[in-house]
């Protein structure tokens, strides 16, 4: 369990993290979503005690990171940027980390096996592909068999097979009752992996809810209606306060559900050829949520 309270971090003029508060609970995969520059990586580094917060605090399993006796046995972390000396072999990289927390050599061999790097264990980590580096990072995170796992952009650079593998692994770790916190800018990936989402933009909390709830809550959910008398139905809907957009020969209605649209048409004797509720993709929900908080947005002329 991770508890973030009023956490803020300022780098010079840039407020990277702004009074963030949220909990990451065990037993499920929690996605940490936000556009580039939203403060995801900084928050992860604050959780791990690598950066010092400007104000606020964060605890892991009820204690500050610096107070953990053997951190690797409590929190495993895969950071976005490489944290490996390129001249050291994968085995020795894991061994020196393991030794610092009193973890034995047998566990080093085990984690190499779990991530499928046993055959490359004696090779220098500097020559690893991005995918192999991710696997090595994950091996380091699993060394202490920790109840809490943090992954910053874990699927970056992985091929489809690797993505499926990591998704399955993260879900199974959560199913064992662990706390799994995964940052990503890939909404579609999070839809498949995360049970719960924490959405941030410009360092601020935008949403903290289950994945399904965030999709449902989005105003990108609308009702699609087709009618031979579309223009008359559209006018009536607007009168009733709904927002109507003509699209591809149909009307996209927000602000009124299917029953309301159907009843209105019936009262006025308007024929209906299609009446369906459309669910936004997580992608659309995310765009909707973070529209005002994107640092760098392509301006449409």
């Amino acid at each position: 369990m991770i508890q973030v309270r009023e956490l803020s971090k300022r780098f010079g003029k840039v407020q990277a993290v702004d009074a963030l508060s949220f909990d990451v609970l065990p037993g499920r995969v929690t996605g940490f979503l936000g556009p580039n520059g939203a403060g995801k990586s900084t928050t992860m580094r604050l959780i791990l005690g690598l950066d010092l917060p400007t104000s606020g605090h964060v605890t892991v399993n009820g204690r500050r990171y610096g107070e953990l006796h053997r951190p690797l046995t409590e929190v495993g972390a895969v950071l976005e940027v490489r944290a490996v000396h390129c001249g050291r072999s994968a085995y020795n990289h894991l061994l020196c980390l393991a030794q610092s927390n009193g973890i034995g050599r047998r566990r080093v061999a085990e984690v190499l096996d779990i991530v499928g790097l046993s055959s490359a264990a004696r090779r220098r980590a500097g020559g690893f592909s991005l995918g192999m580096s991710q696997r090595l990072g994950l091996a380091a995170a699993l060394l202490g068999d920790p109840p809490v796992l943090l992954c910053d952009e874990p699927v970056n650079g992985l091929d489809p097979e690797g993505i499926l593998w990591i998704r399955t692994l993260l879900r199974s770790l959560a199913a064992e009752g662990r706390t799994v916190f995964v940052s990503s800018h890939l909404m579609s990936e999070m839809a498949l992996t995360a049970d719960h989402l924490i959405v941030v933009g410009q360092g601020r909390l935008i949403a903290d809810a289950s994945t399904t709830e965030i999709v449902a809550r989005s105003s990108a959910n609308y009702v699609r209606v087709r009618s031979p008398q579309a223009s008359r139905l559209g006018a009536l809907l607007r009168e009733s306060g709904a927002v109507v957009r003509a699209h591809d020969g149909a009307l996209d209605v927000t602000g009124a559900g299917c029953p309301a649209v159907g009843d209105l048409a019936a009262r006025h004797g308007i024929a209906i050829h299609e009446l369906s509720s459309q669910t936004a993709s997580l992608e659309a929900a995310f765009m909707e949520l973070t529209r005002d908080s994107t640092d760098y947005r392509a301006e449409v002329a």
Binding site: R45, G49, L52, H85, G87, C96, Q99, G102
Partner: protein, 254 residues
Amino acid sequence: MNFADVLRSEWTKLRSVRSTYWTMFFAVAVTIGVAVIVCVKWAQDIRHSPGTTIDATTISLNGIFLAQVAVGTLGVMVIGSEYGTGMIRATFGAVPQRRAVLAAKGLVFGVVTLVLGEVLSFAAFGIGQAILSGAHAGVSLGQPEVLRAVVGGGLYLAAVGLLGFGIGALLRHTAGALSAFFGILFALTALTDLLPTSWRNDVMPYMPANAGTQIFAVQRVHDALAPWTGLGVLCLYAVAAITAAAVLVTRRDA
């Protein structure tokens, strides 16, 4: 955190990268190589003009002036490369007590450098004296000040190595720290030479290399610090750099 675990980890780190072996190989080659070349040359000179007086101990230890480059570079790299590669985040993630990490790293590196330095110093002395004794100019460890100088050669290398380590930990950037290290060891002395004579003579003996090298000289140069005082001054530079790094390490983002 268990300090013995951190020491074990740092020992694994030091022995699992090639740069350690390359710099140590360089240190061995120059210390022994220079001892052979310089002593063969002096042995010839003495045969040609008997009666030449030399500091036979210091002559055989001349390679230390080159070996210090390798040892200091390794000192910078053991910490600089962690910052350069990002490994430091994994290190501080595993051991959040950052000062303990610096202490363990410095201790492991310091002990390894001291052992290497002593082995090299005694080897260079032995080889050098064997060559010089052919011209009846060799000295033995039993003669006054000689043992101190030979032990001092190893101590000097360890102190220079720790100075490099301290600068590396302070600047957290290998290239910058190497420049600063060579600047302090060599360029500072050259700049001091430009000072007005009266100041220059007061300041010069306290320059790190001038002060520290007195520990492996048997004949004292005029104006130079006493051997142990000189080594102490060099150690102060190293201690200052390491202390500054230890103060800042908990205040800076990794």
